[in-house]
């Protein structure tokens, strides 16, 4: 798993590459939390999590997303999801996470 960050105006895009499972979850948690702590976000800042290059995700991914939502929402930073592949989208839909983390 690798994450690349791209800033554009008030939007920070985090592009995830690889498999999101229990093995890689800690890296994703730490990387996103580091961004949260080290960035001076402008008002109405948004973070787009780009899933287009996530080749696999299991329910661990949902736990990671819920945890980030809890942390980022406390600082009024919105989280959005973009381009999930079909199998990832299916798990995201089942979890109900789109209610708090809509599609970009």
């Amino acid at each position: 798993m690798e994450i690349k960050y791209i800033t554009n105006g008030n939007t920070l895009t985090a592009k995830l590459y690889g498999e999101l499972d229990e093995y890689s979850a800690e890296y994703v948690r730490l990387s996103l939390d580091k961004v949260l702590e080290s960035t001076n976000f402008v008002p109405n800042a948004k973070i787009v999590l780009d899933f287009s290059h996530v080749s696999f995700m299991d329910s661990t991914g949902i736990g990671v997303l819920l945890g980030r939502y809890n942390k980022f929402s406390k600082k009024q930073i919105g989280l959005l999801i973009s381009n999930p592949p079909a199998h990832v989208d299916r798990i995201l839909k089942m979890s109900g996470i789109y209610k708090i983390m809509p599609l970009a």
Partner: protein, 139 residues
């Protein structure tokens, strides 16, 4: 067709990808669709994560895997000798988790049920857990 394979793997997170890919590869002679391959990988990943995180509490152990193919039915058995589950029915409820403070979704068994045709969970506290799943591969 009939085919069988068994393996024992150390309960390490770094083995998760290897285990789910190996089982998905075993099913390849049935010509599964990409969606069916992902279903198998996800269900296996959930069962293996349970072994490592819950049964063995990240302290290591051995995961015992048996797979078989009969005609176009894939059978997967994933067994541990860890702490076991005291209330299997409760554990299978959607979003139920014993580790809510560790950012767990509680969706593991729900995904196994959804992505496979049958799921059987046999467990005793202290006696380990066996998860048996089957899936018809239509290709």
């Amino acid at each position: 067709m009939k085919n069988n394979f068994s393996m024992q793997v150390d309960a390490l997170l770094s083995n998760e990808s290897f285990i789910r890919s190996t089982i998905a590869n075993f099913a390849l002679p049935l010509n599964p669709t990409v969606a069916e391959i992902n279903d198998i990988k996800t269900a296996v990943s959930e069962a293996v994560t349970n072994c490592i995180v819950h049964a063995y509490a990240n302290k290591g152990g051995v995961i015992y895997i048996d797979c078989n193919i009969t005609d176009n039915i894939l059978g997967i058995t994933i067994k541990d000798t860890g702490v076991g589950i005291s209330d299997v029915n409760k554990a299978r409820e959607p979003f139920y988790t014993t580790k809510a403070n560790e950012e767990r979704s509680g969706m593991g068994f729900t995904l196994m049920e959804t992505f496979m045709d049958n799921l059987e969970v046999i467990s005793n506290p202290g006696g380990g857990t066996t998860v048996k799943m089957t899936k018809e591969i239509n290709g």
